[in-house]
């Protein structure tokens, strides 16, 4: 059994991914849009957010901007783990971040002196009765 097959099931197709911007939950994509271990970029207003789903089905949302390159690419990184920490590796220069609090595990600061931390949004799975529904903010 692989994760991909379950996620393709008819019930799973209705499962949504939601992230919280401090005021309310926003529905950003379906769970089935995410390949386990990988992510996708979503727009929340003008903000770019990278959402992920790990092999166990937990979802995460962090800023899409890689602080080291300034490029909006974190959604194209690889999930993994370092000891007990769930991680995300940037595809640009391979810096590894803690998915739970967004902190970079390799360096404290980006080259421009700003702290090497990704903003983290609370994320959850929600079952909805409605079908595809993308939401602007």
């Amino acid at each position: 059994m692989t994760m991909t097959t379950t996620s393709r099931g008819p019930r799973a197709a209705l499962e949504q991914v939601e992230i919280h911007d401090g005021r309310r939950w926003h529905r950003v994509c379906e769970l089935a849009d995410l390949v386990p271990g990988r992510g996708a970029a979503v727009l929340l207003g003008t903000e770019q957010v990278a959402v992920f789903r790990d092999r166990s089905g937990t979802v995460y949302a962090v800023a899409n901007r890689d602080p080291f390159s300034g490029a909006q690419v974190m959604s194209r990184g690889l999930l993994g783990s370092r000891g007990p920490v769930p991680t995300l590796a940037s595809p640009m220069y391979k810096h590894v971040f803690d998915l739970r609090d967004g902190r970079c595990l390799d360096e404290d600061a980006a080259p421009d002196g700003s702290p090497a931390v990704l903003r983290v949004w609370p994320a959850r799975r929600a079952t909805a009765a409605v079908s595809v529904h993308t939401e602007g903010v």
């Binding site: 692989t2 994760m3 991909t4 197709a13 950003v28 994509c29 089935a32 849009d33 390949v35 386990p36 271990g37 990988r38 996708a40 970029a41 979503v42 727009l43 003008t46 770019q48 959402v51 790990d54 092999r55 901007r65 390159s69 300034g70 490029a71 909006q72 690419v73 194209r76 990184g77 690889l78 999930l79 993994g80 783990s81 370092r82 000891g83 769930p86 991680t87 590796a89 595809p91 640009m92 391979k94 590894v96 421009d112 595809v132 993308t134 939401e135 602007g136």
Partner: protein, 869 residues
């Protein structure tokens, strides 16, 4: 040192003035060492150079014939002279030294006062004093100008004769042979390389050299050079009364120290030449030093190799800048080289000249291996000669230098790698010099690990300088460092990452033997955790090369790094570049126009790559499918220019067009590229095919390179350009087409099976036990009996290849990921913006106001339609 009392005219600053005569290999090393010493801060430095260009690597001069450019041979880093305020006067040789006035005069008439003078004038080639040597077509072999003149002359010549069968003579013969000349070597001594090898080795060497089509005449001298009416050489008259027709002659019958300047100003020189110096490299005049090939050192010898020259450079630099003294006491004359593709090494007392010395010999005329060790009366290793198989030279040389009775039976040591019993590595004593360039002993290396806390070879290199000269000792260095780490209980960590306690090669075997097909199963059964960006792509690559299937299928999709995930090359602003496959670099005018049109329509930046391709930059994720669609429709596929896979097979035009081509290199390159495209490997693979020995495709700088010969193809492996350039090794020669392809199949699959993650073929060849000899035994002679297996794997790869881009276009499921925002398909990434520069786009930098590219053509339909499919 005392300050000068009455400075002569040209000395206008108060700083002490060091004048160096000669900017060759040793001169440059002297400068580098000097400026790095604290005592050099206040010095003014002037360099007088005869040659029109700064110092270059004379040792590798011959590689110029096979395509290494003068630029690549440069030894003097750009900016070095300016950075250290050195006044370098090129093309203006010193003509006289006035020691009383302390001035040097040059050919242009300039005069320089000095406080310290350093002579590094090297040697001149010896030309036997026989009539006719000034005829047109006669050459020497010492400088870049010399080799350029030889090449210019060779194009009109048919038969070349080399006078001298030593190291240089054989190199010159190899170069003439490669330029297509019928080549003869005339050697006065009874055998080739008389200085380095003994009779048995010489015989074998001769046979190997003759096998390569070079005619060898030993025991004969040159009586005269005979010229035709136009004054061009037509033949050589030999001492045995014979005549040898030749229209090009190269003299490489030894060198003589350039000591004339010193002689003329009254400094003592040796009977057979060489400026006499003491242990500090000082001449009789304490203000004058001599280093390198022009010096006669305190051990009574003139050293004609670069390593002792470098040692002298360091000694003199310390003497000049007042550093800790490092007397020069003599040097190792060991050599390891590859002549005309034959491995030759000699070290220590190679001729058994020591009283009571005995030989231990291994000789196999059939496979062309000759190995001799010289053992002293006390059982110590004194020296040796290795021809055809120089394996374990790296260990034998320091063992001989240490001169202590052996622990291992010499009968074992003398055997070639394949035959030696696997009794574990030979222990080197602490005082054995491992790196003779920097005089670093085994003990010093062990101390670097034990006391200085080094835990890896790069750290030890930095700490001790071992391995940073000629590089020939790096392999032994690695063994010593690993041994010491292991003995200190530091396990030598070759785990892939925290998730797998295996090397890449071990994982490959697990996947192969157990038939594991998914990462999940592999990590559950053999690893821990979730994996990471190290092990996931490695496993993806192993699965791809063993199991096949589209790399974006099922779980494999989650393992690929971003380039493989999006089948294109990520650039700094998050956009991608696309490099259409152009097999062999051959493209029709229509093809060029198509690529041009695509780039124009999508507004992409284009650049010609080093791999004979056209790279199109600036594509956003959601534009990639549309670009591929256009390519596929025009009969192209995109290429793996981003992957750990076969990148490109370059070629020259070859026989079809080129006046010199002897085989159809373009056709072979196309065939090889189509055969190996899509092959996933531990690191990228590059290849090239050249249609003749001129090597325009630079095949010897590739992971596997093929060069045409008049009777087939020569296969080179392990070459590399880039950051760590390495010349490829000849794996097999004069192969017919089918054998060539078969050996490449095996070589690639063997590499994929055994290499570490991110290990290029060059480092793999250096690391793998037994080196090139072992790889040759496995893939040419099938010593492990796995060749059928390797061929079968390759056949599967070739059979299963599909155009990954076309397959992606055909599959809505895979296409779904090519969208910037999953909740706003069709919205471009507003962060990917460009400005215009030189008529094309480039990514906008921070603070620049850029604009996004024109909107892509949407394909694949909207999300809902895709989902319901």
């Amino acid at each position: 040192m005392t300050r000068p009392t009455a400075p002569p005219a040209p000395r206008h600053t108060g700083r002490r003035h060091v004048v160096l005569i000669g900017h060759g290999m040793v001169g440059q090393r002297f400068l580098e060492t000097l400026v790095a010493l604290p005592g050099a801060a206040g010095l003014r430095i002037t360099v007088l150079a005869e040659e029109p260009r700064p110092a270059y690597d004379r040792v590798h001069l011959t590689s110029w014939f096979s395509g290494t450019s003068a630029d690549e041979l440069k030894l003097c880093p750009p900016g070095f002279v300016a950075e250290h305020g050195i006044d370098l006067r090129l093309g203006d040789p010193a003509t006289a030294i006035d020691r009383a006035a302390r001035t040097v005069t040059t050919a242009s008439g300039a005069a320089f006062g000095y406080d310290t003078l350093v002579l590094a004038t090297g040697s001149y080639p010896f030309v036997p004093p026989v009539p006719g040597t000034d005829a047109a077509g006669c050459h020497v072999y010492r400088t870049l100008d010399d080799v350029a003149a030889i090449r210019a002359d060779a194009s009109g010549a048919r038969v070349g004769a080399v006078v001298g069968g030593g190291l240089l003579g054989l190199e010159a013969a190899g170069a003439l042979r490669a330029m297509g000349l019928e080549t003869h070597v005339v050697e006065f001594a009874p055998r080739l390389m008389a200085l380095q090898v003994d009779e048995g080795g010489g015989d074998l060497l001769r046979r190997k050299v003759e096998d390569l089509g070079v005619r060898v005449h030993t025991g004969v001298g040159t009586r005269a050079v005979l010229a035709d009416d136009a004054g061009r050489v037509r033949a050589m008259a030999l001492s045995d009364g014979g005549e040898l027709a030749a229209d090009l002659v190269v003299f490489s019958a030894g060198v003589r120290p350039r000591d004339q300047l010193a002689r003329e100003c009254g400094l003592p020189v040796g009977q057979r030449g060489g400026i006499v110096v003491d242990g500090e490299c000082r001449t009789r005049d304490p203000r004058v030093h001599a280093i390198g090939e022009c010096a006669l050192t305190s051990d009574g010898r003139v050293h004609g190799l670069v390593a002792p020259g470098y040692a002298m450079a360091e000694t003199a630099a310390r003497a000049v800048a007042g550093g800790e003294p490092a007397p020069f006491t003599g040097a190792d004359t060991s050599t390891e080289l590859k002549l005309l593709g034959v491995d030759v090494a000699s070290f220590g007392d190679a001729h058994g000249a020591t009283e009571g010395a005995r030989d231990v010999l291994y000789s196999d005329g059939r496979s062309g291996v000759y190995r001799k060790l010289v053992i002293g009366g006390d059982g110590a290793l004194l020296g040796g000669v290795l021809v055809g198989d120089t394996g374990s030279y790296g260990v034998l040389r320091p063992l001989a230098a240490a001169g202590r009775p052996l622990d291992t039976a010499p009968g074992q040591l003398v055997l070639p790698a394949g035959l030696a019993p696997a009794s574990g590595p030979v222990e080197l004593p602490d005082d054995a010099v491992v790196c003779s360039c920097h005089n670093v002993t085994t003990g010093r290396i062990r101390a670097a690990v034990a006391d200085d806390g080094c835990t890896s070879v790069p750290e030890v290199k930095k700490c001790t300088k071992a391995g940073t000269g000629c590089g020939s000792c790096v392999k032994v260095l690695g063994t010593v460092v690993d041994g010491e780490l292991a003995s200190r209980g530091v396990s030598v960590d070759d785990r892939l990452c925290e998730h797998f306690a295996h090397t890449r090669a071990e994982l490959y075997d697990i996947v192969r033997v157990k038939g594991v097909a998914t990462f999940s199963r592999l990590v559950e059964e053999h690893g821990t955790g979730e994996g990471c960006d190290v092990c996931k792509p490695v496993v993806a690559s192993i699965l791809a090369s063993l199991a096949g299937g589209h790399i974006l299928d099922g779980e494999q999709a989650a393992l690929q790094d971003t380039n493989d995930h999006f089948l294109a090359n990520l650039q700094r602003n998050g956009s991608y570049s696309v490099v259409p496959r152009v097999p062999g670099g051959e493209i029709t005018p229509e093809g060029l126009i198509t690529i041009g049109e695509i780039a124009r329509d999508f507004g992409l930046y284009t650049k010609i790559t080093g791999g004979q391709r056209i790279d199109m930059f600036g594509a956003a994720v959601d534009q990639l499918p549309a670009i591929w669609r256009r390519l596929v429709d025009a009969g192209f596929e995109s290429g793996h220019a981003y992957g750990k896979a076969l990148r490109t097979v370059k070629s020259c035009v070859g026989q079809a067009w080129c006046r010199y081509g002897v085989q159809d290199s373009a056709a072979l390159a196309i065939e090889l590229e189509l055969r190996y495209r899509g092959l996933r490997s531990p690191h990228k693979l590059k290849s090239a095919v050249s249609g003749c020995a001129r090597e325009c495709a630079e095949a010897q700088g590739k992971d596997f390179g093929v060069i045409a010969t008049s009777s087939g193809w020569n296969l080179y492996v392990g070459g590399n350009g880039g950051m760590a350039p390495r010349h490829a090794d000849l794996l097999a020669q004069d192969l017919d087409h089918d054998t060539l392809v078969r050996i490449i199949d095996r070589f690639l699959m063997f590499y994929i099976r055994t290499a570490d993650r991110l290990e290029r073929t060059s480092t793999w060849l250096e690391r793998i036990e037994g080196g090139l000899g072992h790889v040759r035994a496995v893939v040419v002679d099938d010593s492990l009996g796995i060749c059928a297996d390797l061929e079968e794997l390759m056949a599967r790869h070739v059979g299963a290849y599909e155009d990954e881009w076309a397959a992606t276009l055909a599959d809505p499921d895979r296409l779904r990921r090519f969208t910037s925002f999953v909740n706003a398909p069709g919205t471009p990434d507003p962060a990917v913006t460009f400005v215009t520069e030189r008529g094309q786009i480039r990514p906008a930098r921070a603070g620049e106001h850029g604009t996004p590219l024109p909107r892509p053509v949407l394909i694949g339909g909207d999300r809902v339609e895709v989902r319901t499919a």
